[in-house]
Amino acid sequence: MRRALNRRSESTATLEPVESVALTPWDRVKLARHQSRPHSLDYINVLFTGFIELHGDRLFGDDPAIVGGLARFGDRTIVVIGHQKGGDTRENIRRNFGMVRPEGYRKAERLMRHAEKFGIPVVTFIDTPGAEPGIGSEERGQGTAIAESLLTMAGLKTPIVAVIIGEGGSGGALAIGMADRMLMLENAVYAVASPEACAAILWKDAGKAPQAAETMRITAEDLLSFGIVDEVIPELVPAHENTHGTISAVGDAVQRALDELMEVVDQPSGLDRLMEQRYERFRRIGVWSEALPVAAE
């Protein structure tokens, strides 16, 4: 496992399958965060043609931690939105390590409305440690920006497919992830808090992050079993060792998901059904017990 994490790129690596049962959740956290793992623009550049990036939230600025725009996918025009991390330290600083500010979520929301206006499906790539914690972000309403993006997605009258390609960091990830189909790469993780933060709070020791990662059930396999994720896209070898193979597999899965959703939309009252299915998709999530028979229903 350590070997897989330390290998840098395809050029130097032999593509030996990594025995997936040997990977702990913490191994997957490290793989999901691997700097050489393909990021949103890598997917955009390979899967789509004619990508035209659209910038800015029309209110305050342009957040480089979110990229988005119009692109061609097969014979379809799509609007693509993704968190963007950097492939090296310099780029990572420019991209704020994929931590989005309110203007980033507002840009994403604007692009979603753009998609809805023209009946264009939306594809999002999720890869963020979380929304940026910062003074300016709080001043400009980080919570409100995320909530408004969710509200827009809840009622967006066009199909949405989300792919968790790396790190799914809490509300900052969900803010562009409230989709009709949620696909997840095998070594991606999606958590309500970072294992380090969870360990710091509940274990009183951030160093216990590997244990927290285990307890939190954040792997693709876990989330599939919970019915939160619809499909796990296998990584026979970790994505950073098999960039093109991984991107192709994601492309195939997105194509299938979009085909299914467009089939729903193309039927009479298809958009109403899409909206109904999206509502039900999130409506049913949760586990509780009901001690007594419900009186009022």
Binding site: G143, I146, G171, L174, M178, I228, I285, V294
Partner: protein, 319 residues
């Protein structure tokens, strides 16, 4: 419609070891105000809606205290009290298993979960309330919180009854993992439907309100109110300080800070809350009163015009 809303349970308190609910304990006769350090007679504090009579500091309220202050006596009917938390991840940390923590919290707080929902009236006007209880695991939003709020919103949409949420929360319930995070999506989707039914949602941000609640239904309500001094934010101040290594500005994340930055509609003193909510409800109620026949001419607001009244419109004329 009212009959649907009024079906529910009368609240039966859990046995509790929270001494706040037991006024007889001598140590609790006096309370020290954390803001001005004044010792206040507990009875006096209760009579003043738990607002410090010396400095105006708004003490935090338990959910049932808030409901008692907000709705008319005897009008509250609780909903979905039988919806109880489960432990889907079988979560356990060095302090113990989540399931044990839940039981201990239930005993200590006297509540089964962190959100209480139900129907009541505000000076006779129908309202549905959803109030979080910070004493229950920091009012973190887990599956039960999300489910009870969603059911409440769905019934509001069906019956056309306004919703008021009172939101103090530490954020997501980490012990429920991604089930907890997804409650943000679930409650926002329910709020979107409430909007389609044109039913208003008034959100009161209560101290402290952070994380997933700030980033979902609470900050996209139709009217967003906060009490003076309430702390509201997405990330906690300590996290921000640690990560940015910057000193936080004075008053950072207070209700006043949010008002200045355009994130809330107004700040209301606790003593004015009920009257303000009643007035808001009346505004929305009038929207649906169509077919009234003859239009009612406007009248000068003598109470607010310093006695110098402008001329009123004459009946029958549009002004």
């Amino acid at each position: 419609m009212r009959s649907i809303l009024q079906r529910g349970d009368k609240f039966q308190p859990l046995p509790t070891d929270d001494d706040r609910l037991d006024q007889q304990i001598p140590g609790d006769l006096w309370k020290k105000c954390p803001k001005c350090s004044e010792l206040i007679y507990t009875r006096e504090l209760e009579n003043n809606l738990r607002v410090c009579p010396k400095c105006g500091n708004h003490f935090r309220l338990r959910a049932r205290e808030r409901i008692e202050q907000l709705v008319d006596p005897g009008s509250f009917v609780e909903w979905d009290a039988e919806v109880r938390p489960a432990d889907p991840l079988e979560f356990s940390d060095p302090s113990g298993a989540y399931s044990d923590k839940l039981q201990a919290t239930q005993r200590k707080s006297g509540e089964y979960e962190a959100l209480i929902t139900g129907f009541g009236t505000v000076d006779g006007r129908s309202i549905v309330v959803a109030v979080s209880d910070f004493d229950f695991l920091g009012a973190s939003m887990g599956s039960v919180f999300g489910e009870k709020l969603t059911r409440a919103m769905e019934r509001c949409a069906e019956a056309g009854t306004p919703l008021m949420s009172v939101n103090a929360s530490g954020g997501a319930r980490m012990h429920e993992g991604l089930f907890s995070l997804m409650q943000m999506a679930k409650t926002v989707a329910a709020f979107a439907r409430l909007g389609e039914a044109r039913v208003p949602h008034i959100s009161l941000l209560a101290d402290p309100c952070y994380g997933g609640v700030t980033a979902s239904y609470a900050t996209i309500a139709d009217v967003i109110i906060a009490e003076p001094g309430t702390l509201v934010g997405f990330a906690g101040p300590r996290v921000i300080e640690q990560i940015t290594k910057q000193k936080l500005p004075d008053g950072f994340q207070t209700a006043e800070f949010l008002l200045e930055h355009g994130m809330i509609d107004f700040i209301v003193e606790r003593g004015d809350l009920k009257r303000t909510v009643a007035e808001l409800l009346d505004h929305y109620a009038r929207v649906h009163q169509v077919d009234r026949g003859e239009s009612i001419p406007w009248q000068p607001n003598l109470a607010r015009s310093n006695g110098v009244a402008p001329k009123a419109a004459k009946p029958g004329k549009k002004s």
